[in-house]
Amino acid sequence: MSVIAVRNIHKRFGNQDVLKGIDLSVAKGETVVLLGSSGSGKSTILRTLNLLDLPDEGDVFLHGNKLGQPRPDGTRRYREGELRSLRRRVGMVFQHFNLFPHLTVEENIMIGLRRVLNYSITQAREKARHHLHHVGLAEKALAFPDTLSGGQRQRVAIARALAMDPDVMLFDEATSALDPERVSEVLRTMRQLSQEGTTMVVVTHELGFAYNVADRVVFLHGGRILEQGTPTEILLHPTHAPTREFLHAHTEFRLPSA
């Protein structure tokens, strides 16, 4: 059974149709990478999975259970409490980290444990230290986020999401705001999670990551899923022209392999 799934999702921003009927289901332990040019709707799908963006039509399922209550007009209504219990099961890593600048690194991780999962300070600190160690930043526990590099901040953000023991992790262009030489440390952390069996949905432009780590690659075009399959199928043998153009644009200036 799928951990998280969406069915026939439609989303409009103003008069622009961003998503035009998306079906996506993520199995336990699976790493799904969403690819597509900007404006294709990949970030919106991710934000629909934890209902940071509410869909105009369609359903969201967590462990097969449809979320929300039906409204007479056929759309669904989501209560605040239901949104909160969904989001604490779904970890999210943002492009711009969204760490809390007034809290130390460990306090950033502890706040969700303390205020959402009702851990004691001692338990929360212990768990925070454990997850910092996991992302290789144990010695930064008492530092403030503004003293860290972009790559370190993003790893703290990953630890913050992981500490909540989520059923699935969402990565929204987690490396797009980083200096090029900081990208790989974050990608390595993400690959490690994938290898440990974390269920992940990843929006990225890092084709190498998609090829090496993804179990399934989904290519989006114009608010629809154009094609999906294994990394080899989609990245090496795409069948649709937009996918080929996208891949060509992303690999045009690549070094030849030795």
Binding site: L52, H102, I111
Partner: protein, 226 residues
Amino acid sequence: MRHTWDFSFLVHYLLPLGRGLMNTICLSGVVMVAGFTLGLLAAIAAMSPLRTVRMASAAYVELLRNVPALVILFLFFYVIPVLTGFQNDRFLTACVAFSLYTSAYFCEILRGGFLAVDPGQWEGGQALGLSRAGIFCWIIAPQIIRAAMPSLANEAIEIVKISTVASTIAFPEFLYQTKIVSDIEYRPIETYTASAIVMTILILTLTWVSRIAARHFAGHRRKERE
């Protein structure tokens, strides 16, 4: 003409001057708390999703910000008693007038602090499953205070100085007592010089306290308290 400086007579007036200073501190203290509270309410109203509430808040701020503190004080001391037939005491009148006046400034300071907080902070909190109230208390509010702290301290100092306007309705605060001493002794230069020194010391103390508060709210080395 040569002036012979002589401060010695002030020794005889320590008691009335001290009482004046106490009154200044009390009035300023009440205005700081009440003005901040009213300003906070106005700032919350300014962020309301309802257009009418936002406009009411804007009207409140503009009205109070564009009228001199002295005029608001006179309005409450002279005009409202005529209209209502009810005369409040001087202290209360000054408290109400200055609290309203400064609340407009507090509102703008807090609103600015709110706008300075990255909207991504809300999403960061939401993604963890925190409630809206929780996000506001633990994540947004501390950052508003942190961003607004220098301006809040400035406003607190401004309040101490504005409180001297209460001398115009004969509330015996520090400046009013100074004026009386000066009139009795015919020594305005020494009296006002001494009062300037005392006010400076008072405000420097306030600045010092606000620095400590600012450092506290800056979060650095702050431990999570329970």
